[in-house]
C-alpha cells in the first residue's frame, strides 16, 4: 500500500461507507457526552423514539455545570437543570455516567485518557470542540455539534469530510520552564487562529517524542485554537506504559493484539503532507496571550503589538478592538501587567504535572495581596494524586484555593466567573471576549506562568523567579 500518514491510517480503519466526494461515514469508537450539548442530544434522541445504538461505547460526565466550591460537594445552581438531567438521560440510555461522588468523575477530556477509554487509533467524538485533546493519545478525535451527536448516538457513526493533512515539526531542545503550552501558544501566535482550518494536524519532531502523556494532551488541546479540528501525536511506549492497567484499557491477549495494531499507526517515512510547518524551539521564551484571540500571543519578553504596524485595515481594527477590551496599550511590555485572578485548571492544564509545576513556583511564596488564585483539578483521580503527593498543601500554604474538579472558570457555564474588568492569567485555552465572564480579561499561559503571576501580582517571566 502507498505511504500513508497516521491520520490516513486511522481514518481508513473507520470507514463504514464512502459517501462520494471527500465524504465518508466513519465509525465512532467512543462517544463522550456532557451536561450541555450531550444532555441536549440524548434528550432529542430519546424524544424521537430512537435508542442509543452502542451504549457500551458511550461515556458521560457533568463537567461543565458542576460547581467546584469545596463546601458544596459539587452541587450548584445548575444541578437540577443540567447535572441531574444528564444523570437521568444516561440511565435511560444505559450509558456509563461518571457522576458527582464517583471516583472516575472529571472533565471528559481528562478522564478519557485517564480511564483508558481513549486508546491509540480510536475515533473519539464529543459535543465539545476540545475533543482534539485526545489526539495526544494517538486517537483521531474531534468535536461535533448536537445534531451530529444525535446522529452518532443513534448510529455509532459520524459523517465526515476528509481534511487535508498538516505536520508541525518541532526542532530543538525544550528550554527550562518552557512547557507544551508555550509550544502550542507560540505556534498559534505565529501561524494564526485560522492556519489549521481544513487540516488534521500531526505534531512531530524530537521534542514531541520526549513529552509526557499529559504534555501531549495539553499540546493537542489547543489544535482547535489554530482552526484544526484534529491534532494528533503518534503513540509510542510512553503512551503504552501510561495505558497499561487503566480501568478500560484492554488486557491479556487483547492488549497484545492492540499493541501490534498501535505499533503500525505512525506516519510512514515517505508519507506526504499537504502542508508542513517547522518550529525551532531552542530560543523560545515562555508565552502568554495579550488579546482576545489565542493568536494574540507573544513571548513574555515582548511588547503589545502596535495596530499602526498592520497594513491590513480589518486586522488593524481587530487589534485595536482587542486592546481596548483587554485594557492594554500598543508598545507596552506585557510583563508587569497587574492581575486580579489566576486560574490553574481546564482540560488544557489540570493534570498532576500541571499542579506539580505550579507548586514548585509558589512553594515558600505567598499569593500577592488582592489576587485570587484557584487551582481546579481536572478529575477526582487527579485530585487524589495531587493530595497523595501533598501538593495541595503547598498550594494552599501559598494561598491558592484548592477546589473540586470541573470546567469552572474556563468557560463559566457553572456560574463561576471573573468579574467584569478584572484580569485573569488562565491556563485554559480561550481568551475570547467574555469567555470567563462578561467583561473579563483573560491571558492564556502555562501553569508555571500562572503561578508566577499569582505570587507577584503581575504578569511575570517565571524564569526570573526560578533562576
Amino acid at each position: 500500500m502507498a505511504s500513508r500518514t497516521m491520520f490516513d491510517k486511522v481514518w481508513d480503519l473507520h470507514v463504514v461507507a464512502d459517501l462520494g466526494g471527500d465524504m465518508a461515514l466513519l465509525h465512532a469508537d467512543r462517544i463522550l457526552v456532557h451536561d450541555l450539548s450531550g444532555a441536549r442530544a440524548l434528550g432529542a434522541l430519546l424524544e424521537q423514539g430512537l435508542e442509543v445504538r452502542n451504549p457500551e461505547l458511550c461515556f458521560a460526565a457533568p463537567d461543565h455545570t458542576v460547581t467546584t466550591n469545596p463546601a458544596t460537594g459539587g452541587i450548584g445552581n445548575f444541578h437540577e437543570t443540567c447535572v441531574r438531567p444528564l444523570q437521568d438521560l444516561t440511565a435511560q440510555g444505559k450509558i456509563r455516567h461518571f457522576g458527582l461522588g464517583d471516583k472516575g468523575f472529571g472533565i471528559l477530556h481528562v478522564i478519557g485518557p485517564e480511564q483508558g477509554i481513549t486508546l491509540p487509533g480510536t475515533t473519539v467524538v464529543c459535543g465539545d470542540s476540545h475533543t482534539c485533546t485526545h489526539g495526544g493519545m494517538g486517537a483521531l478525535a474531534w468535536g461535533i455539534g448536537v445534531s451530529e451527536l444525535v446522529h452518532a448516538l443513534a448510529t455509532q457513526t459520524v459523517m465526515q469530510r476528509k481534511p487535508k493533512r498538516m505536520r508541525v515539526n518541532f526542532d530543538g531542545l525544550l528550554p527550562d520552564w518552557l512547557s507544551a503550552k508555550d509550544l502550542i501558544l507560540h505556534v498559534i501566535g505565529r501561524e494564526g487562529a485560522a492556519s489549521g482550518d481544513g487540516y488534521a494536524v500531526e505534531y512531530a519532531g524530537a521534542p514531541i517524542r520526549n513529552l509526557s502523556v499529559e504534555a501531549r494532551l495539553t499540546l493537542c488541546n489547543l489544535s482547535i485554537e489554530m482552526g484544526a479540528k484534529v491534532g494528533m501525536i503518534a503513540p509510542d511506549d510512553i503512551i503504552y506504559q501510561y495505558l497499561s492497567g487503566r480501568p478500560y484499557a484492554p488486557v491479556g491477549a487483547d492488549w497484545d493484539r492492540a499493541l501490534a495494531v498501535w505499533g503500525e499507526l505512525a506516519s510512514d517515512s515517505e508519507a506526504a503532507f499537504d502542508a508542513e510547518v517547522n518550529v525551532p524551539i531552542d530560543d523560545l521564551a515562555p508565552h502568554i496571550s495579550w488579546g482576545t484571540s489565542p493568536e494574540h500571543t507573544i513571548a513574555v519578553t515582548d511588547r503589545i503589538p502596535d495596530p499602526a504596524d498592520e497594513a491590513d485595515l480589518d486586522r488593524r481594527q481587530a487589534l485595536s478592538a482587542a486592546q481596548e477590551y483587554i485594557g492594554l496599550n500598543p508598545g507596552a511590555p506585557i510583563e508587569g501587567t497587574p492581575v486580579d485572578w489566576v486560574f490553574i485548571g481546564s482540560c488544557t492544564n489540570s493534570r498532576l504535572s500541571d499542579f506539580a509545576e505550579a507548586a514548585r513556583v509558589v512553594e515558600g511564596r505567598k499569593v500577592s495581596e488582592g489576587v485570587r488564585a484557584w487551582a481546579v483539578p481536572g478529575s477526582e483521580a487527579v485530585k487524589a494524586e495531587v493530595e497523595a503527593a501533598g501538593l495541595h498543601r503547598v498550594l494552599e500554604a501559598a494561598g491558592v484555593e484548592w477546589r473540586l474538579p470541573g470546567c469552572s472558570l474556563c468557560v463559566g457555564a457553572n456560574g463561576e466567573t471573573v468579574p467584569a474588568g478584572q484580569r485573569c492569567v488562565s491556563t485554559s485555552n480561550r481568551n475570547f471576549v467574555g469567555r470567563q465572564g462578561k467583561g473579563s480579561r483573560t491571558h492564556l499561559a502555562s501553569p508555571a506562568m500562572a503561578a508566577a503571576a499569582a505570587v507577584t501580582g503581575q504578569i511575570t517571566d517565571v524564569r526570573k523567579l526560578m533562576g
Binding site: 461505547l57 461535533i144 445534531s147 446522529h151 485560522a194 481544513g198 481587530a318 471576549v433
Partner: protein
Amino acid sequence: MQKFTSLSAVAAPLPEKNVNTDIIIPIKRLVGTERGTLGEFAFEPWRYGADGRPNPNFVLNQPRYAGAEILIAGTNFACGSSREGAVWALNEFGIRALMAPSFGAIFFNNCFQSGVLPIVLDDAIIDDFMIQAREVVAGSEFNIDLERQIVTSPDGTTVTFETESFRREALLAGLDDLGMTMKRIGDIDAFQAADRDARPWIYGLQHKV
C-alpha cells in the same frame, strides 16, 4: 428540516475575521434558553449595549438590513466552540445562507443539520459582495440558486460556488444527516461485525460498568 433550494434576500455585511461562536451565541443563553427562542440572542454581545438596548452601530440593527436572510462574513467565520446553538441562533434570527472566505469547521457541518447553506467564496468576491451589500440601495437582493450553484449579486454579477453533491442533495431534499444514514444501517452492522473480530478491544466494555 426545511429544504433549501433557492433564496432571494437582503444580505448583511459583517467583515470581521475570526468571529467566534461565543459572540454568535453566549454560553449563558445555551444553558438557560429553549431552542426556538435563541434568535433574540444572536450576536448578543455586539447587538446590545451594556444597558440592554440595541446597539445602533451593529449591522443587523440597521434598518436597511432589516429582514436580511444572508450574512456576508469574514475569514474563519464562527470559529471556536462546537455549540450548534450558533447555527440555531442565526437561523432563528432569520439567516438562511452565509457567504465567507472560510468557516469554522464544526460550524460548517452544523449548518447542514438545520438547512442553512454556508457558501465558501474567494476573498476578492467576498470583498466585492461586502461593498455591494453596503453601497447598493436598501432592499437590493442577492440571489442564491443551490441547484445550479450560482450566486447573483445586486449588480448582476454571477459567481459559481461548490457544495458537496451529498450535501446539496440532502439540503434540496430537506434531509439531515441522520435521515441519510438511517438508510445505511446494514453497512454499519456489517462494519461492526467485521471490526469486532479485527479489534475486539474496542467493544465489550459493558462489564466494567
